[in-house]
Symmetry: C2
Subunit: 340 residues, 2 copies
């Protein structure tokens, strides 16, 4: 049975949201879950739910990594943190994947240290799923695991993203784009110009350069970039979105007519919120890891954790890592370090 | 008298928006304007306005650079394009600045070729002005002139942005941030880590790393980055904004209650639009050029052109270039090429 470790101490609403999400996943999908964290707090939270007969266990971890803690310090010093114990459960084969909403840097560093990458993969890549105007999600990677990349890393990201889109979202022939600053082949910086050539030769449906504005249009299923650009892009999107909603909220409170109008149109705003809701997509997998880590947003609610557990299980049962290994071997990337 | 050349053939609404904006600038501010383009079309458009006694001239240019044309081809082959003739007017000292909404790459390449950079500046930088939650604009540079940068280029961008913020927006001690992927000093890629050290030593109010989400918060006046990241960020912001408004518009049409609510709240939406309106800020100056080029959005309306002419004039009369030269000389950057 596929079991998933859920770091119960990671997110802003820990452990309540983590526990509620894990219970929902166990109840709805029958997925086995091990909640990892301070046992008394986790059990207290569990007691608020109906859990009789559900495949839920608890593993104790005495320490918690704070959101503002240095990832390297956390890895070195906190040997009994909830994320470290979760990673150990994965390396001991007691679980197939780890879900965590903790300090992203520490989650990535810890699980990479404990598990390592797949033997064929140079650089695991953090992969996020974004809503688009056409309803289908778009996959963006890398969004922060590798701040400095070589062209071949982007090629590896493209192939992993292609497999993820196909296996998890059922896209038959994912359209893969390269994030750049113009659609013409010749546009870009040194990195993307070289990567463009590599992607053209790669066994994927490469659709060429895409620009920042195209990410949300829904015409591309997978978009690759280096982790610096991807992280800036991801946080910027959140910032624009927040700015827009904050400003609109202010304006809608300014006059009585606007307030009444807002009340009447409230359902439209709820529908919009649902269309843009990240929590349906199940978090950001670190692709290329031996095993699987799914990083959730710090603000994740129970629904986000439930979906992260669902995606983690699908990832394992559909053998995404096995397919990545096969495809990389076909490319002749049989040893790590080929991309430098 | 400060005169400004307005490329009348550049934007999506050329020459109507350009001519209307130039007429408004001449009438409101008394600024001398030379409209550059196909003379019969420009004069036909001018005849729709009341221009008696206004300081408006027309300079003929037989060719037009298309939006999708290669900048290099345009520079080489179209010697009588409206942007080329505008740049020539600047190099002949007949105008102090050029305003154009044409093909951004061609506008930058042409004016750089004809004018060159300031003797002390290695890399002119395209500078955009963004609205923020706090009302004050934020300056982002470079947004596309230099896709591959060295740390010292970012330092030069920071100093130019600082001067621009001070001289044009009257910010007394601009807060300058470095676009990166975390607020801690140690976060970033190779480029930003080195640039961070240089910016700490620079004679500016450096506030450290800022993240994508901070750009619109309004706590930073100037944000520097390489031109690849900046261009991705700029286009992504437009994309998120468009996605949000498109989706909200769809939802607001779905039910009768939402439609009525939207009508009642209409003024709130108009106010929001005004707060986010780029056309008040007067386009994107290419800082560091000998002379000045202001690049306007292809979709610019008459108000945007009017404000671009106003900003171009302020830029010249407040001697922004002279201050840049002084500051760069103080830094010991007396010859171009110091930053490689």
């Amino acid at each position: 049975m596929t079991k998933i470790a859920v770091d119960a101490m990671g997110g802003d609403h820990a452990p309540a949201a983590e526990v509620a999400g894990a219970v929902a996943a166990a109840a709805e999908y029958g997925t086995g879950v091990i909640l990892v964290g301070q046992e008394d707090r986790v059990r207290a939270e569990l007691s608020r739910h109906e859990t009789a007969g559900l495949p839920i266990e608890v593993a104790h971890a005495s320490q918690v990594v704070a959101m503002d803690e240095s990832p390297l310090t956390a890895v070195r010093r906190k040997k009994d943190s909830s994320i470290r114990v979760s990673a150990n459960l994965m390396s001991d084969d007691r679980v197939s994947a780890v879900v965590s909403a903790g300090n992203t840097g520490a989650v990535m560093a810890t699980t990479k240290l404990v598990m390592g990458g797949l033997p064929v993969v140079d650089r695991p890549a953090l992969t996020t799923v974004l809503p688009t105007q056409k309803g289908k999600p778009a996959i963006l990677l890398d969004v922060g695991a590798n701040v400095d990349c070589k062209p071949m890393h982007l090629e590896q990201f493209a192939i992993m993203g292609d497999i993820y889109s196909h296996k998890i979202f059922g896209v038959r022939r994912p359209r893969v784009g390269l994030l750049s600053i113009g659609e013409e082949d010749s546009k870009g910086n040194e990195l993307t110009k070289e990567a463009f050539k590599a992607l053209k030769r790669a066994p994927i449906n490469f659709v060429g350069n895409v620009e920042g504005r195209d990410i949300f249009a829904g015409d591309t299923d997978v978009i690759v970039c280096d982790g610096f650009t991807g992280n800036v892009a991801l946080k910027l999107s959140e910032g624009v979105f927040e700015t827009f909603t904050t400003m609109l909220g202010e304006e809608l409170q300014r006059t009585l007519a606007a307030k009444v109008g807002y009340m009447l149109a409230q359902n439209a705003f709820h529908q919009l919120k649902r269309r843009l809701d990240y929590s349906e997509y199940g978090g950001a997998p670190l692709l290329g890891l031996a095993g699987l880590t799914v990083v959730c947003h710090g603000r994740s609610n129970a629904n986000a954790f439930k979906n992260a557990v669902r995606v983690a299980r699908e990832f394992c049962e559909r053998d995404v890592n096995g397919v990545i290994e096969q495809e990389f071997e076909k490319m002749g990337w049989t040893t790590p370090g080929v991309a430098g």
